[in-house]
């Protein structure tokens, strides 16, 4: 995971303020029933993971927020948009150690896909995001990280008193 910089072309505070947390899509409760995903979650169960903690809410462009955000971020990172979303982990919930399986990914040029994460809500002690052996915490709003690979294992935690939001972006390198 490599720190890229602060994306300040997007008003992240305004974006979050407009989100209705109660309408977030509970992605963790609607996981695809495919072996890569079921295997991951079986591993968690076998490890004694508290499955009640698993919850993250997703918000999508067009449906939940202005798609202009996507264009601004695409310009900032210089990677052609494939998909993006905002995720939210509430206090006491976790996005456990996992990688993101997606049904459309079989057709993607595996090595040319890039993934970015931006921490978009003010940091509070107890909040962290892990990617492989890296961690980000206490970042300024808008801090952007590029992952080594978009299928890297990752996790999100929130032991603070307020929800944690981050922006997720998967794209294609423009220099191909």
């Amino acid at each position: 995971m490599q720190y890229i910089g602060i994306c300040n072309t997007i008003d992240w505070k305004n974006l979050i303020d407009w989100l209705d947390i109660d309408t977030g899509y509970n992605s963790s409760a609607n996981l695809p029933d495919v072996p890569p995903v079921t295997n991951m979650f079986n591993n968690l169960k076998n490890a004694g993971y508290n499955m009640n903690s698993i919850e993250w809410l997703n918000f999508y462009p067009d449906k939940d927020y202005d798609p202009g955000v996507t264009r601004l971020f695409e310009t900032y990172v210089g990677a052609t948009h494939i998909r993006s979303w905002i995720s939210c982990v509430k206090p006491g919930k976790t996005a456990p150690w996992h990688w993101d399986w997606h049904q459309d990914d079989a057709d993607l040029p595996f090595d040319d896909v890039v993934r970015y994460t931006a921490n978009i809500s003010p940091w509070h002690p107890g909040q962290a995001f892990f990617v492989k052996d890296g961690i980000c915490y206490n970042d300024a709003v808008g801090s952007v990280y590029q992952w080594d690979h978009y299928t890297d294992y990752h996790a999100g935690v929130n032991a603070s008193m307020v929800p944690k939001f981050q922006y997720n972006y998967v794209g294609l390198r423009c220099d191909m």
């Binding site: 206090p91 456990p96 307020v162």
Partner: protein
């Protein structure tokens, strides 16, 4: 939070194996009363934020291992000698995968003993850092540590939190002691 060094006077792997085969003395948090006079409204903050104890189907809770019950006093003595303090209170906490010790400070029924000059607070990581494990003290986060790494806090009153989104239990030794004169 200040990194003190790696305490090599303990066989941390042996201690870990011992703890893994031991029933914890109790579960935390120790004080469930929302109105405890020293809690500073902490549990109300937890409730307002949506935290629920594991006993009630939530994610807040941790195992507590006590010296003399779950591990030997000689272990405590060895670590305290390494640091250079006289032990006041030492315990080992363990957070299960998918569980939390939300932001809090370790309030006591009687805090006068801890508010004396020379009283210091430390924590020691019993395992190496694993993905999904993190320990926060104030605005800092311990990560990437190895077994036996010792950190000193600014004060025993520092707010802290432990998280575990990984696949293994996370063990931390907590020490409050008084600096040798």
């Amino acid at each position: 939070m200040r990194y003190v060094g790696n305490c090599d006077s303990i066989d941390w792997t042996q201690l870990l194996v011992q703890l893994m085969h031991n029933t914890p003395a109790k579960r935390g948090p120790g004080h469930h009363q929302a109105d405890h006079p020293n809690a500073n409204g902490m549990h109300k903050q937890w409730n307002d934020a949506g935290y629920v104890l594991t006993d009630a189907g939530g994610t807040v809770g941790w195992d507590m291992y006590l010296s003399g019950t779950n591990f030997s006093h000689s272990t405590v003595d060895a670590v305290c000698n390494w640091i250079g303090i006289e032990n006041i209170s030492t315990w080992i906490s363990a957070i299960h995968p998918g569980e939390y010790a939300p932001l809090h400070y370790d309030f006591q029924d009687d805090e006068t003993e801890f508010d004396q000059p020379g009283v210091e607070r430390y924590h020691v990581h019993i395992t190496k850092s694993m993905p999904g494990h993190a320990f926060f003290v104030g605005n800092e986060c311990a990560y990437g540590y190895t077994a036996g790494d010792v950190y000193q806090w600014s004060s025993w009153r520092d707010y802290h939190a432990g998280v575990n989104a990984g696949l293994q239990k996370k063990f931390t030794m907590n020490i409050i002691g008084k600096r040798y004169d």
